[in-house]
């Protein structure tokens, strides 16, 4: 068995037997990693706390036939401010789910991994309302699915873009429109995210265009993955008695 070093961001852990856990991570050099962490559920194990979902760690692992074995873990960043804010945590969980879906075991993904870590670091510093939407567009662009946003994706016309259809590969003019209607504000946000204006977008407050941009982004990701995202259906943030299951307003 070969030993290897890598970094990882923990996606999930599941219990195995009395004291062990199977940890699923994404890594720059090994893509998706599934590894056994032994004895981590005992209180004396430091490794267990370091392998909590969301944590960015450096790893030493033994390669196994089906599952690797984690032997050393050092914490790089636990992203505590993200863990302690439902809104940011919800966005982070969706980012983890997306990156996991785009990753494969034994397939290096240094750019995608760096993108994830940068996004989590941004979320640690600020609750940037448009981070998740921007992240989705950036991931799609990295994977080769950047939407056409400067002209109509069907006819190439430069005029106003009024609709989005992921199957058409982007935004559409008034004549070609189909799919989802979009506001000029949302189109402009996507254009800026993909056109070098990301930092500016991340500094801006939430609003209807921002929400629309995020919704378009997650549905474009779902179309490319051919799968619904679990995390977007379970919005953790802002519960109220009326939105709770069986609450007064239900």
């Amino acid at each position: 068995m070969a030993q290897y070093r890598d970094e990882g961001v923990v996606i999930r852990t599941i219990r195995l037997g009395e004291a062990d856990r199977i940890v699923t991570m994404v890594s720059p050099e090994h893509g998706k990693i599934r590894a056994v962490a032994k004895g981590v559920r005992k209180t004396k194990s430091r490794i267990g706390a370091r392998l909590e979902p969301l944590s960015h760690v450096s790893l030493l692992c033994w390669q196994g036939r089906e599952l690797d074995v984690v032997t050393q873990v050092e914490l790089i960043d636990a992203f505590r401010p993200v863990r302690e804010d439902l809104h940011r945590l919800g966005a982070a969980m969706t980012m983890l789910e997306i990156v996991e879906q785009f990753s494969l075991e034994h397939h290096p993904m240094p750019e995608l991994f760096t993108m994830l870590v940068r996004a989590l670091e941004t979320l640690e510093r600020t609750a940037a309302p448009m981070l998740l939407g921007a992240f989705c567009w950036k991931v799609l662009a990295l994977e080769g699915f950047a939407p056409v946003v400067d002209s109509c994706a069907r006819c190439g016309e430069d005029g106003e873009l009024v609709a989005f259809d992921a199957a058409d590969g982007g935004f559409l003019c008034r004549r070609c429109r189909r799919g989802q209607a979009v506001s000029p504000g949302a189109v402009e946000l996507v254009r800026r995210v993909l056109g070098g204006g990301l930092a500016g977008v991340l500094g801006e407050p939430a609003g209807p265009a921002a929400q629309e941009m995020e919704h378009l982004a997650t549905s474009a990701v779902e179309l490319h993955l051919d799968r619904r995202l679990r995390t977007t259906r379970h919005h953790l943030a802002e519960p109220s008695a009326s939105s709770a299951p069986g609450g007064q307003g239900a």
Binding site: E52, R233, H234, L236, P245
Partner: protein, 155 residues
């Protein structure tokens, strides 16, 4: 020789603890304080809290913790039942005793936001270092939280 007595177990109709009668012994005990409600993920957590002999209130078993990535949302947990109990009983304090991990913390934050408007006091168990453990062996997340949750020492 150990004879195992197997009685059919059911869930307590009030708190969802595992029991053999419609009401578990804790819910049936009039000496338990109905104004304090300790919310746990699993019936095994009740056993753990009971062993401390520190808590004289009642319990509510959620049946898990929020885990959006696994598709577990509030509707998969006994949140509705918790709200109904808080409205019906004279609960004054809800103690969120979910696990000190990502899912347990998220569940506690979610419930705190949900319960705050109901005018009930909501508390979360402190998380810190294991008694008898060495500081140098503590993990960073636990030690960081323990530092944040520090208390003034009475002298």
């Amino acid at each position: 020789m150990i004879v195992e007595v197997k009685e059919k177990t059911v869930l307590c109709s009030a708190c969802f603890n595992v029991t053999v009668s419609p009401l578990c012994p804790i819910c049936a005990d009039p000496r338990r304080d109905a104004t304090q409600l300790c919310v746990v993920e699993d019936p095994r957590d009740i056993v753990a809290v009971e062993r401390t002999r520190e808590f004289r209130g009642r319990y509510h078993v959620l049946g898990g913790a929020l885990s959006p990535i696994e598709g577990v949302g509030p509707e998969q947990l006994r949140v509705r039942e918790l709200l109904a109990r808080i409205e019906a009983d004279e609960v004054a304090e809800v103690i969120l005793c979910t696990n000190p991990n990502l899912e347990g913390d998220a569940t506690a934050m979610y419930l705190a936001r949900l319960l705050r408007p109901l005018g009930v006091k909501v508390t979360r168990i402190a998380s810190g270092l294991p008694v008898g453990g060495d500081l140098e062996y503590a993990d960073e997340l636990t030690l960081g939280r323990a530092l944040e949750g520090r208390r003034e020492v009475d002298a």
